[in-house]
């Protein structure tokens, strides 16, 4: 059973965002990393790049496949997780912690409120598995 922290919001495309002031930290969910399998490469954007909500901002590659990752909210990239350049497996090991991907300066709080909470995300994952 996956464990989804309730201090953050989740997307239906399996990213999470944790907000602190006007800065959001973004990663992929434990469910997503399990589905991907062993992650061998993470391609992240440059600092200062600006994305819309739902826009692709990078890719994560496992041995077998490439997956796009989408920004849960609109914002400007403030920081990327440099550890992932040498240790992409950190996303597998600690997807909700040390395996975070980027930090963004939020354009709007309202977008965050529209995302799934941990309980609803867990239900969504279960429903998706049955489909």
């Amino acid at each position: 059973m996956s464990n989804y922290p309730d201090d953050r919001r989740y997307t239906r495309s399996h990213e999470w965002i944790r907000v602190d002031g006007d800065v959001g930290t973004i990663g992929i969910s434990d469910h997503a990393q399990k589905e991907l399998g062993e992650i061998v490469f993470v391609d992240l954007p440059d600092i200062g790049e600006i994305f819309d909500a739902g826009q692709e901002f990078g890719t994560i590659e496992s041995v077998k496949a490439v997956s796009e990752i989408f920004l849960p909210v609109a914002g400007e990239i403030l920081e990327t997780n440099k550890v992932l350049a040498d240790e992409p497996g950190a996303v597998n090991e600690d997807p909700h912690g040390d395996g975070w991907l980027v930090k963004v300066k939020l354009s709007s709080d309202a977008e965050v409120d529209a995302l799934l909470n941990a309980t609803d995300y867990e239900k969504f994952v279960e429903e998706e598995a049955k489909a």
Binding site: I28, G37, E38, V40, F41, T59, K64, A65, V66
Partner: protein, 374 residues
């Protein structure tokens, strides 16, 4: 996050070991019309188990075509590009069915079971096509039958494979040398024991009746437990075979490429007499082979994958294409195979691979990427 969708078939076939894969926690994926395990405990762990100890694969989805009768030799000799006359009883040969254009219908293993009895082992997804291809060569004196439904196939691969399998059979496995086979018994069950595989390691492929495959699978896993055997899925099979530069139909070889291009000229025996595709191969050799499959290492940041475009000699240079590519556990860096113009195949040649719009540098390297210590 979103990934590529896998090929979905309306009805996926199950091998006789399907329930065991589920019970072992296998992550199942559609492959060539079959529901197969891509991994159990993790791709890298399974890959390393095969390189260092042993791994167990279900390869029952492969196709088997039996050619029998006094004219069987002539039929197989005409159907395949390697020289069947080089085989004696029990010898196994890597070979191919070729189109009249000299390109691949499929690659296969030819087993000479007896002078008038051959077993051709073909790729799962190509089996219906291959059966039709071989059936077209049927003649009085040589019957061609699809025996896929009566053969299960289990591959035990890795340096401990012989030790593990030996505990379950009275056949002295040491006398079965590389690319030879012998009928015997495993757990008292009749089986064809073959020292072959698709991982770059020593190992055996065990052919037997599907009804008894589960018993043999369980027994190998149990006997292998003290040796650290792991069940291994298609994911590890792919990274293992790529490191060893073993061609995969649909990726590295297909009906658009010839054996000359695929660096598989060694399975073509032009002197053996006529065979399907021979004329086209002779013409291509005379005219010059335009492109060849090479190994490369990515030197920049990124992973090159099947289908990505390759530029050689700058943006204006001639183009090629990646046929297989990923980061593999033993090599530990992104590697791959690509078709490039023949004059650009020397090790050290710099390539640029289009990784989703970015030109990522790579360099041609000698192959295979991995060779086992003997």
């Amino acid at each position: 996050m979103s990934g590529p969708t896998s090929d979905s078939a309306p009805v996926l076939r199950h091998t006789p070991l399907w329930e065991r894969h589920r019970a072992l926690g296998g992550k199942m994926v559609p492959f060539g019309g079959w529901d197969m395990p891509v991994e159990y405990s993790g791709l890298s762990e399974e890959h390393r188990a095969v390189r260092e100890r042993a791994g167990l694969f279900d390869v029952s989805h492969m196709g088997e075509i039996r050619v029998k009768g006094p004219k069987a030799f002539e039929v197989v000799q005409r159907l395949t590009c390697n020289d069947v006359a080089a085989l004696d009883d029990g010898k196994v040969q890597y070979s191919a069915f070729l189109t009249p254009q000299g390109t691949f219908v499929d690659d296969l293993l030819t087993y000479r079971l007896a002078a008038d009895d051959y077993l051709l082992v073909v790729n799962a997804s190509n089996t219906p096509k291959d059966v039709a291809w071989a059936k077209a060569a049927e003649c009085p004196g040589a019957s061609v039958e699809d025996e896929s439904p009566i053969w299960a196939q289990i591959a035990v691969q890795g340096p401990r494979a012989e030790t593990i399998l030996q505990t379950l059979t009275e056949t002295p496995l040491g006398r079965i040398t590389y690319y030879r086979s012998e009928p015997g018994k495993v757990l008292g069950i009749p089986a064809l024991l073959s020292r072959t595989g698709y991982t770059g390691e020593d190992g055996f492929e065990v052919y037997l009746h599907p009804d008894r495959a589960g018993d043999v699978w369980d027994a190998i896993l149990k006997a292998g437990q003290p040796h650290g055997i792991l069940p291994a899925g298609l994911g590890a099979r792919d990274t293992l075979r790529l490191e060893a530069c073993l061609a995969l139909y649909g990726n590295d070889i297909d009906d658009a490429h010839t054996p000359w291009e695929a660096n598989l000229g060694w399975i073509v025996k032009m002197k053996k007499g006529d065979f399907q595709g021979r004329e086209a191969l002779a013409k291509q050799k005379e005219a010059g082979v335009p492109r060849k499959l090479v190994g490369f290492e990515v030197t920049g940041r990124g992973i090159a994958r099947h289908g990505y475009a390759v530029q050689v000699g700058g943006a204006a240079g001639a183009a090629g294409v990646v046929t297989s590519g990923t980061q593999t556990p033993t090599v530990g860096k992104p590697i791959g195979l690509a078709y490039v113009p023949t004059e650009k195949t020397a090790p050290g040649t710099v390539l640029a691979i289009d990784v989703r719009g970015r030109g990522v540098p790579a360099v041609v390297v000698p192959t295979p990427f991995y060779r086992r210590r003997t």
